[in-house]
Structure formats: C-alpha cells, structure tokens
C-alpha cells in the first residue's frame, strides 16, 4: 500500500530515545508559562489600578508603559532583555530573561483587560458597599474584584493560552523549553517535518484541554456555582436553616 508506505517513511524518528527530552522541554514550557502568568497578572493588576487612579501622575506612567509594550514585538523584548541588557551590565540567566520578557509583554495586555473589567463594575456597587460600612479594601476585595474577575475571565483565558504558545519564541534564546528541544531533535535526525508535526501536536494536546477547562470554569462561574469553600459553607448553612424552617 503506497499510502501506508508513505506514512511509515514519514515517521522514522526513534521517539523512544527522545521521550526524556520532550518531557524536560514540556516541564520547562509549563514552568515558563506559570511563572510568567503569575507575574503578568500581578503587574497587570497594578497597572490597571494605576490607570484607574484619579491622580494624573499615577495614571500617565502606567498608560505609557501599556502603550509601549503593546506596540513592540515580543521577540524584540526577548532579544533586548537577553542579548541587549548584558551590554549595559545587566545579566539575567535564560529563565529569568525569558520570564521577565513574557511578564513585561503580557502585563500590558492583561492590564487592558483588567482595567475594562474593573471599570465595568457598576458604580452603584461601590456606593452600596460604602453605605453598608464596608471599608475601601473590603469593598475592593469582596465586591469589585469578584465581579471584575468574572468580566475579565474570557479575555484572560485567551491570553493564558496565547502565553503557553508564545513560550515557543524562547527557542531564540535556547531556553530548553519544548521548541528548543524540538530544534535539537530535528538537527540530530534531519527530519524536520516529522519532528515539528509531533511538537505542534504536543502544543495542541496541552493547549486544547487548558482552554476547554477555562471555558468550563467560565461557564460554572456564570451559572453561579460557588467556587470558594467559605461561600459553599455559608450556602450550605443557609440551606440547612431554610429546610429546618420550612
């Protein structure tokens, strides 16, 4: 059969020998993703709050930051932090440089999402919270933030999956993540088509379930499923009391 012949001749890389490399690369990719996402979320939230501040002197720098990093390619940021900064005496190891680049870049995008979400919470909510005697901190953490999170979730989820895929750009600084491993395997076996097809499949197998899980999370929150243990406990308490009363 010529087709199966073509297929077997296409897949000739001894993958068993490379399982270790792939696993290592995958772990590294996930490490970059998680570290960068945490950093970008925190920085993005700070930037969003700064941009919502009534003081110009706080608002403007955050605005400038966002505009700069939104309009510069991620690859340029990676090269600047890893190859550029050492010439002025700032040296990072490859992991720090990679994470830093991703944080700087994605924080700019996330700050836009967060800013829109926070200002999307109705002003009557703040007022109702203050009228109940809640402090500014509690109002933010218990009234504004949970609602903003719901609004920010779709955009943030898209960014998260995008971030997983963008770690592949770190191949340019040999970050030992999945794409770097792929390049290594390809150069050893000279079978670029097969190797990159497999690697693309690995990215898909990681990204697809993640994005489906995040969609599920979005839907559950939208459907009113309480996620925190405290909320579950209070609702259960209320349910018991109501059933006892009925």
């Amino acid at each position: 059969m010529p087709i199966s012949l073509a297929l077997t001749s296409m897949f000739q890389v001894p993958w068993n020998d490379y399982v270790g490399n792939l696993a290592e690369g995958l772990v590294r990719t996930l490490a970059y993703t998680v570290a960068s996402f945490i950093g970008a979320t925190l920085l993005g939230l700070v930037l969003a709050l700064m941009r919502l501040n009534p003081l110009r002197i706080v608002r403007v720098p955050a605005g400038i930051y966002t505009e700069i990093f939104k309009n510069v390619p991620l690859l340029a940021i990676i090269f600047l932090t890893y190859f550029g900064l050492p010439s002025v005496g700032i040296k990072f190891n490859v992991f720090v440089a990679g994470v830093l680049s991703l944080v700087l870049f994605y924080a700019a995008y996330l700050s836009e999402t967060f800013r829109a979400a926070i200002s999307g919470v109705h002003s009557g909510q703040n007022e109702a919270a203050h009228a109940l005697g809640l402090s500014r901190g509690t109002t933010f953490s218990h009234v504004v933030l949970p609602q903003a999170l719901r609004l920010a979730l779709p955009g943030t989820n898209t960014m998260f999956v995008d971030l997983i895929k963008s770690t592949s750009l770190l191949v340019t600084i040999s970050a030992a993540e999945l794409m770097t491993e792929a390049q290594l395997i390809a150069s050893e076996t000279f079978r670029a088509l097969e190797v990159y097809l497999v690697i693309a499949a690995v990215y898909f197998v990681v990204c697809y379930p993640v994005s489906q899980c995040l969609l599920w999370l979005e839907r559950s929150i939208h459907a009113g499923v309480p996620l925190s243990l405290g909320r579950r406990r209070r609702i259960a308490m209320a349910r018991t009391l109501l059933e006892a009363g009925a």
């Binding site: 007022e127 009228a131 609602q147 308490m237 209320a238």
Partner: protein, 266 residues
Amino acid sequence: MTQLTLNPAPERALSNETLAVKISKLRKSFDGRLVLGGIDLDVPRGKIVSIIGQSGGGKTTLMRCVNLLERPEDGVIEIGGETIFANGAVTCRDLAKLRQRVGMVFQRFNLFPHLTAVENVVLAQMHAAAIDEREAVEKAVRLLTRVGLARRALAYPERMSGGEQQRAAIARALALGPTVLLFDEPTSALDPESTGEVLRVMRQLASDGMTMILVTHELPFAREVSDWVVFIDGGRIIEQGPAADVLDRPKEARTLAYVAKYAVAG
C-alpha cells in the same frame, strides 16, 4: 457609639432618646449650583418621614447626606444624638460604624450580583461588623424570611424579580440593626405588582417601629405610612407637616402644583 460621649449634657441625653436624626442648616452645592440651601429637619425615633418634590430639587442629595455618601458643605447632622458632621467636617470617629447605624435602600437595588440573596445579607455583617459567620447566616435567613423571601434566599439577584431584589436589599440594609433606614425612591424602578410587595414590607417595618426617611413620588403610599411629609423645592423646605396636611391641604402654591401633578400621574 453613645459610649463615646463621656459626659453627655442633660439636654443632649434627651435628644438621644427622642431624635433619630437631627439636621440643622445643611448646605450643599455642586459646581457652584446650590442644591441644599439650609435645611432644618428633625426625625424622631420610630417615625416615618417622606421627602417629596420635583426631581433635581435636592431631596435625594439631602438623604445621601444623612449617611455621608454626600459631603455637605455646612450645617450639622446628628444621628441618635451623636454629631457626625458639623461646620464642614466629619466629626464621627468611624465612618464605617456610622453607616452601620444608617441603612440605605437604593432606587436600583444595587445588590451584589455575584452573591446569592442570603450572602448579600451576610457580607456586611461579617466584614463590617465582625459578626460570627453562623450568627450572620442565621440572621440573614431570619431577615429574608421576614421580607417574604425564604424561598428565594439562595437565588442570585439576576434571577429575581425587581420586587424580590428590592426586598432582599431591604433585608441587607436591616442586617446591621440600623437606627434609621433611608429609602431612595425604592419603588420607582418597579412595576405595580412589585411596588405592592415592597410597600407591604415597608408597611410592616413601619408597624414594627422602624425609623424611616423616604424619598418618593408615591404620594398615596406616603400619605398612608408617613407621620411627617416634607416638600422640598430648589434646595429648600417649602412646606412640612403631618402627611394629611401637606398632601391634602397644602398651604403653598408650589406644593399644591406638585401634589396635583403626582395625584394624577399615579
């Protein structure tokens, strides 16, 4: 907060007992436009005072000054005998504590949409008044039952009708045991059926002796529940007195025009 006054003068102690809210010479303007031009108003404990008047006449602003959601420029406000605002400055030590003593119900309910009705009533108890969780939930269930929402206690606001949302908002405002309840046009965003539900709850609160200040255009309801009606126009009190006097036999031409208009409208 009364324990903060170490040596209350005798007349102060008297007003402590009899007046829930005392407002004197209250002034407020927005961008140079005078909204309140020296308001004097006493609200005795257990009484219901309705503030009526044209939109933009300052009645909502006056009410929002009572819990300092709006800062007046001048005048004095006392809640339960304690001066909370005097001569352009907030004088109470703890704004959050003050707000626990003044419950507020909004025109658009402003329930927290990410929480169920019962959690809406629990939140401030736990985070503003540091009430124990179990006690807070028990109180919330009790209050929701009181406003006829036991069956809807676990619903989210978006799944509730306007009338149910407003009753949940009343339960939330009652949760901290306020001295006085403020209602800012509580029924103007509601259909007639929902309006009926909310008015029933307010009537019940009135018969339980709750002190209430309400801004409303519902003149028949105002006549029925209020002990005192205040007509405000152009930032000044034009006329005030017992509900029947102001609404049925107004002395001032402006009051008469207003009452005639809203008697026809609804």
